[in-house]
Symmetry: C2
Subunit: 264 residues, 2 copies
Amino acid sequence: MAQGAIFRLLILLTVASTSFSQSIIQTWPPKQALLASDGISGHRKIPNDLYCESWRFTVETNDAGIWTRVPARCVGYVKEYMTGDKYSADSEAVADDSLAYAKTVELSGDGKDAWIFDIDETLLSNVPYYTSHGFGSEISDEDSFDNWVDMAEAPAIPASLRLYKELEELGFTIILLTGRTEVQRKATELNLQNAGYSNWERLILRANSDHDKTATIYKSERRKQLEDEGYKIHGNSGDQWSDQMGFAVAKRSFKLPNPIYVIA
Amino acid sequence: MAQGAIFRLLILLTVASTSFSQSIIQTWPPKQALLASDGISGHRKIPNDLYCESWRFTVETNDAGIWTRVPARCVGYVKEYMTGDKYSADSEAVADDSLAYAKTVELSGDGKDAWIFDIDETLLSNVPYYTSHGFGSEISDEDSFDNWVDMAEAPAIPASLRLYKELEELGFTIILLTGRTEVQRKATELNLQNAGYSNWERLILRANSDHDKTATIYKSERRKQLEDEGYKIHGNSGDQWSDQMGFAVAKRSFKLPNPIYVIA
C-alpha cells in the first residue's frame, strides 16, 4: 500500500473512531428531550400522549401516591388505554407473570395454599360503569357506583378469569378480599358467578367495624387472620398498591393496571 | 301528533335506548383485544410495541420479579424508549412527584432530615454504556461495566439533578446509597462531581462484608443504621424495587424507570 493510501486510511480510522465514541457519549440525554422537559412547567408544553404516558407510569409505580382524579388532559388517553388493546395486553402480561410464578410454588396440599384476589378491576371490570362516568375524571359518586354493583353486571377481566381457573387447577385455595361491604355480598356473589367465577373458598368483605380503616390496614388485618388460621399466602393479585402493602403480605404480589382511580 | 308518528317515535326511542345500553355494556372487553390475547402463546401474535409496552409495565410494577435480560423482540423498543423522549418524560414526572411530596414534609432542621438517592440509573445514567452493550439484551459483563465506572463519564439524569438541587435548597440532608463497591469510591465521587452533584452528606458503598447480600438486604441494613443514628428517612429515590423494599423503608419511596436491567 502506498504511503499516501496508508495516511488516508489512518485519517479515516481516526475520524471513524472519534465519531463512534462521540456518538456513544452523546447518545444520552437527547437534546430534544432536554428541551421538552424543563421541570414542572415544561410538562405542560409536552405532547398530551407523552405527558399522560408518564402520568400513568407514576400511578402504576405508586410514585403518584394518592390522587383524586385523572388529570383533565388525560381523560381521552385513559379512555383509549382502557377500551383499546393496551389494558387487555397489560392484564394478560400480569396474568402470565402470576401463572409463571404459581407454577414454581411447591404446594403443601393441605388446602391452605392460598392465592388472594381483589375483586374490582382485578376479577371484575367496572369499565362499563366508568364509560358513563367520565373515566376517572369525576370525583367518585358512591351512590351511583353502589347501584352499579347491585346490577351485578360487571364483566370478568378475561386474563384474570384465565389465571383464576389455572390457579384452581394447580390446587391453590382461592380467597377473595375486597373493599366492597357486607351489604353487597349477595350482588357480588351473583356478579362473580355471572362472570364465570366459582369455587372460591371465602369471600371477605368489609364489616361495619372496618369502615374507618384504610384499605391497606383492613386488608393487612384480614391477611394476618388468614395466616393465623394456617393459610400460606403464596400470591396476591390486586389493582391497587393498598392491596399488597402493609403487613402479612403475600410471598409475591401482582399489580394489575388501573389508571382510573386510587384507593388508599 | 298522528298515531303513526307516535308509533315511529316509540320505535326510534326503543332502538336508541337499546343500542345505548348495549354500547355501554359491550364497551369492554373489546372483541379485538380478546382475539389478540389468548394466553401466553397469544402474546407472540400481538404487535411488538404492544407486547413490549406490557412487558415494561410488568417490569416497572415489579410483577416481572427477577429477569435476566430484555426479551430479544423488545431490544429495539427499549433503545427507542431510553434514547427518545419517553424515558426523560418519565424521569421528569417522577421528579415532580418527589418534589411535590418533599414540599409537604415538615423538616426538623436538625440536619437529620434525610433523602436517600441511589446512583446508577437514578442520579447517573449509564445509557452511553448500554448503547454499546445491547441495551439490556446481553447478560451483564461486570468487567466492562467496571471499566465504564472507572471512566467517570456517566451523565446526570437531568430530572434527578434538578430534584437533587431542589431538595438541597429545601434543607434535606442527602445521602447516597449505592450497590457500587468501596473500590469504586474515587471514580464515583469524581463522576458525581463531573455530572454536577455536590454537597452529599455521605456516600455509602458496598463493603467487602456486603458482597454476598442482596441489594434489598444490604440497603435495608444501611437504612436501619441511618435510622439508628437518628436520621429520619423522609424520601428515597431509586430505579430498582430493591432500593425501596425490605425494612427501615423511607416514608415515601420513588421508583425511577429502568427497563434495561433488574437487581435483586
